[in-house]
């Protein structure tokens, strides 16, 4: 099996690579279109800012390449948000795979204020699809984000911070997770294994 991690100007690639290594899977890190298109599975990671990342992808034609992939693709964090239609982060048009909009966390006018971005471990529930095979409801994953994808028809996992939102999305061959499976202890490792076995 050939696994590719898409290389672009958004961090955390190393962590994803090490997490794969821990479960005994090799991966190539590349922005080469042919290598991406010929891979069996693709991970689209990302930590950073939406508009800068989209500009980078567009300059290299990777936006069109990613949208048209037929094999399983897993977006992580910013990667997942970029797979949505639009992000409020610098009013950015994204890849449009998922219709769910990406919005900024805002504290409600009443009630205690929470910290934004959300940083830390939160539970995920209403788990759907085999990405969560063997994972019980309300297990904890590690999140770091100030923007979130709203709930919608493609939601396959939910988390609550201020309000419920999409912890994971899926449409056809495309999967996205808001949290960092590569940093979510054994629960995250199980999800990465599940993705590899899709």
């Amino acid at each position: 099996m050939k696994l590719v991690i898409i290389k672009y100007n958004a961090g955390n690639i190393q962590s994803v690579l090490y997490a794969l290594e821990r479960i005994g899977v090799e991966a190539a890190v590349t922005d080469d279109v042919q290598q991406i298109q010929s891979a069996d599975k693709i991970i689209f990671p990302g930590v950073g800012e939406a508009s800068t990342a989209m500009d980078y992808l567009k300059e290299r034609g990777l936006d069109t390449v990613i949208k048209n992939l037929q094999q399983p693709v897993l977006g992580i964090c910013l990667g997942m948000q970029l797979m949505c239609k639009h992000s409020e982060e610098n009013d950015t048009d994204c890849l449009g795979i998922f219709e769910e909009p990406v919005k900024k966390f805002v504290n409600p006018p009443q009630g205690p204020a929470v910290k934004i971005p959300q940083i830390g471990w939160n539970n995920i529930y209403d788990l759907k699809t085999s990405l969560f095979k063997g994972i019980e409801e309300n297990q904890f994953c590690y999140f770091v984000h100030g923007y979130y994808a709203a709930l919608g028809q493609h939601t396959i996992a939910t988390t609550n911070y201020i309000h419920p939102y999409s912890a994971a999305l899926q449409k056809d061959n495309f999967y996205g997770v808001q949290f960092h499976p590569e940093k979510s202890a054994t629960v995250g490792e199980q999800m990465i294994k599940n993705f590899i076995e899709l």
Partner: protein, 255 residues
């Protein structure tokens, strides 16, 4: 629900984990890679790994050690000690660190925080502050591992750092550190309720109740400790079960 984090801290000197009392009298506490992996397996939510001699001896944090830890650890970890440039951080992140912490260098050159946040994002910039309550009842910033006093108040510096782009604050009370008499609740609460970023309380945690107090009374987002974990005085799983029973949200560890 977002949970409160328990963070074991691994102070590193010459590649070994050490722990001093009131920043002095350093004792050996084992191999940091093994300890880190053990804590991750026991349900630690994050690790902090500080090269405590780095600033004083002008050494760079051992990026090789960071790399070894990154290969083995499946939870987030922060690296600090002697970080004074964007280049230092770049090397550590490339070696697998998730976040970096900066202390003295950032105080001397606050622009560093801004540069780091712009280059790598606020989420990986942790500002560490060593603070001490003086006779006038005010908390002041100390530098160089607690050796150098400044006239800047802790809250003022914390606020400035957050405005510059610091994503979290690791607050160590020198009055409490190593005493096992409890965390500094007043300054922790002041920062946590007035600043929009997570506050990691450090220094003084000696009993499970101290952790409850710092979360419940001082609204800390995370609590950090070293020796009580290294010397197995408190087990991470036991601590989390206790906090859970006290209605404090924690990530319970399921096998």
């Amino acid at each position: 629900m977002l949970t409160k984090r328990i963070i074991p801290c691994l102070d590193i000197k010459d590649g070994r984990t050490v722990k001093g009392i009131n920043f002095e009298n350093i004792r050996d506490a084992g191999d940091p890679v093994e300890l880190g992996a053990l804590y991750a397996a026991q349900g630690a939510d994050e690790l902090v790994f500080l090269d405590i001699t780095a600033t004083v001896e002008k050494r760079k944090t051992l990026s090789e050690l960071v790399n070894k830890i990154a290969h083995k650890i499946n939870i987030p970890f922060t690296v600090g000690g002697g970080i004074s440039s964007v280049e230092d951080v770049s090397v550590l992140l490339q070696n697998g660190a998730d976040k970096i912490s900066t202390n003295t260098s950032a105080f001397k050159n606050p622009q560093l925080i801004n540069d780091l946040a712009k280059q790598f994002g606020s989420q990986c910039v942790v500002l560490a502050i060593d603070t001490k309550k003086e006779d006038d009842g005010e908390w002041y910033v100390y530098l160089n591992g607690g050796r150098t006093k400044t006239t800047t108040k802790c809250f003022d510096w914390a606020k400035q750092a957050v405005d510059l782009g610091a994503g979290e604050i690791l607050l160590t009370s020198m009055n409490n550190d190593g005493t096992k008499q409890g965390f500094a609740l007043d300054i922790t609460q002041q920062l946590s309720t007035n600043l929009p970023v997570p506050i990691i309380a450090s220094g003084g945690g000696g009993t499970m109740q101290h952790f409850k107090e710092v979360f419940q009374d001082a609204q800390a987002d995370a609590a950090l400790a070293a020796s009580i974990f290294h010397f197995k005085e408190i087990g991470i799983q036991d601590l989390k079960r206790y906090l859970h029973n006290q209605q404090i949200p924690v990530r319970l560890w399921e096998k």
